[in-house]
Amino acid sequence: MPTMTLAKALNAGLRRALEADPKVLLAGEDIGKLGGVFRITEHLQRDFGPDRVIDSPLAESGILGTAIGLGLRGYRPVVEIQFDGFVYPAFDQIISQLSRLHFRSHGALTVPLVVRIPYGGGIGAIEHHSESPEAYFAHTPGLKVVTCSNPLDAYWMIQQAIASDNPVIFFEPKRRYHEKGEVDTEAEPMPLYQSRVVKPGDDLTLITYGPMVRTCVEAALAAGDEGRDIEVVDLRSLAPLDMATVVESVQKTGRAVVVHEAALTLGMGAEIAARLQQECFYALQAPVLRVTGYDIPYPPSRVETAYLPDLDRVLDAVDRSMAY
């Protein structure tokens, strides 16, 4: 089984999708000759040509809008937004068009489009390059929103997203691009919209996704040293939420902490807490806690490690929950 970085796994997944279906196209700024600023599309233009791997003019709304048109014509465009902070110029095309052309046409139109967005902090970048805008999309009916946390998922989920006839917002945890893992390129992948228990445990459930999965697993292992048996759920899909998996876990543990980089207020943790307090009202032995970015714009990189949830902050919340 090959071992590869998350970045390479995405590249391999995109390559396989391009090979599998001539209707698959990639578009975005600098994705062709340069292979993208993170090299996720490296060599793909060389191998599939500029008609299928398209360098786009510097205009995100234009990229999304023309990709919608390509989708209406029967293509399966995969567009790259260069950084999380640059998706907002395309917001209208995503919210008022992409998410609802299927609805608006009573099902007659489909737009099988994937929007790839490298997201999150921790890479020492300047402003607008470390954002976690997933909640904006998860709040929007009509969009599927997924995110991978490891090379295996990266490889398969990008292909599943491309194969889906529904628009999918695909968040890539950029600080994990260079982390390695085994990728079984043959085995049947798990369903795209299903969450995964990445570490079982009985005492408390850590619910997280994307870049924070590794952090939470490390926290769970550290807590294990202190005799606490923590379960970690990698959501993988943010819209729809696979609440069955989450509820089952919390019914068992009675305690839940949601962890994400995005700001607290109206972040994914809000929805998960709201649902858990309803669906596990009697099972919960402590309130659902949230360990998240603070309600401030992403700060300068020299303080980002203090801003971002880390192992210690997760353990602190575990302690608070257990002590409740």
Partner: protein, 384 residues
């Protein structure tokens, strides 16, 4: 017409119905074809008037009349043929009718019984877009797809196709429309940008959006722009044919500014007396797109009063069908709208639908608008 800014447009038929020469453009069709355009225009106007009347009677929530813009729409759509693909804005009723959308079905959106239900693919017509300018990018992307499908620049001209997209003068201020120009130019996309300059964006005169003629916008993006008399169906057809031909041959985009006038209100919730004079409207009435085509055809002998009478009868039939069809439109149920939110509805959404159904089943009465809602509806309704 004393308006100095229109001196530079392409005109092939004067307001009086006389055909005139233009150095670069000629109408290549027969009088029979022109009679077909006249029929399209007359039926579209009748439909439009019926819809306006239906709104007044409370049967539609809103109606954006196309009154006065029939030549621009009929002339341009008659220059298209499959595999061309048409992206309308929200006022292209004559375009949609010509492409076979059922007149009654067109009302559903405005009666509020449906979103935009046309099965567009069958007719080469996209659905209406209500967020100004968004559809221009869709058209460019679609055209890029046609390029990739080998529909451009073939030796056999019939194998070629292009996209045409409609938008208003106000829309030209949107970022999306300008980005559409950029992408189209960059990729030499086979697309025709058809701007109906009807002089207003709701209350705002064109001068607020552009101080120079709109067609000149294209030159800054590196492709041709041209202004045509939008009330002259022959000129519109000729200019659009030329632009579509360029696109299909691989010569890239064209911007057409069809200089016309919105003779009615912006929508039925609008009050144009607040922002324009009766004088102005009267001046434009003298340039009516229908009367000049009719005058020409009568003079040329291609049609006669009997022909007009039978068209009138056909219009009347359409009107009756529209009136009757509108009130007979099926009332939708909310649960239907859980269906096409996504292609594979997740559990979480189906639960919401089931909760709704269960909750509804708890009532003996069918869900009806309550008095309060009906009240505010009548007061604030449907400005757009």
């Amino acid at each position: 017409m004393s308006d100095p800014v229109v001196d530079d447009f392409v005109q092939l038929l004067t307001p009086e119905g006389e055909r005139v020469q233009h150095p670069d453009f000629a109408f290549g069709g027969s009088d029979e074809q022109v009679a077909g355009y006249l029929r399209d225009m007359v039926l579209a106007r009748r439909f439009d008037n019926e819809a306006t009347a239906l709104q007044r009677k409370g049967e539609l929530g809103l109606w954006p009349p196309a009154l006065g813009q029939e030549a621009a729409q009929v002339g341009s759509v008659n220059a298209t043929r499959l595999p061309d693909h048409v992206f309308p804005s929200y006022r292209e009723h004559a375009v949609a009718l010509h492409l076979g959308v059922d007149a009654v079905e067109m009302l559903t959106t405005f009666r509020g019984t449906a979103m935009v239900p046309w099965k567009s693919a069958e007719r080469g017509l996209h659905i209406y877009s209500f967020v100004i300018g968004t559809q221009t990018l869709h058209a460019v992307g679609y055209a890029m797809g046609m390029q990739r499908d080998g529909l451009v620049g073939n030796p056999d001209p019939d194998a070629n196709g292009a996209a045409i997209v409609y938008f208003g003068d106000g829309a030209t201020s949107q970022g999306d429309v300008n980005e559409a120009f950029i992408f189209a130019a960059s990729y030499t996309a086979p697309v025709v940008f058809f701007c109906q300059n009807n002089q207003y964006a709701i209350s705002e005169p064109i001068a607020l959006q552009s101080k120079i003629p709109l067609y000149r916008r294209a030159s800054g993006f590196g492709f041709p722009g041209i202004r045509v008399d939008g009330n002259d169906v022959l000129a519109v057809q000729a200019v659009t044919s030329w632009a579509l031909q360029r696109a299909r041959q691989g010569e890239g985009p064209t911007l057409i500014e069809a200089y016309t006038y919105r003779m009615g209100a912006h929508t039925t919730s609008d009050d144009p007396t607040k922002y324009r004079s009766r004088d102005e409207t009267d001046r434009w009435r003298a340039r009516d797109p229908i009367s000049r085509a009719q005058a020409y055809l009568l003079a040329s002998g291609a049609i006669d009063q009997a022909w007009l009478d039978s068209l009138e009868a056909e219009s009347e039939q359409l009107a009756v069908r529209v009136r009757e069809g509108c009130v007979a439109l099926r009332e939708p149920q909310l649960e239907e709208f859980f269906e096409h939110v996504v292609i594979d509805p997740p559990e979480i959404l189906l639960e919401q639908r089931d909760d709704y159904l269960e909750y509804e089943a708890g009532f003996d009465h069918p869900s009806v608008p309550d008095a309060e809602a009906a009240h505010s509806q009548s007061q604030a309704q449907g400005a757009f």
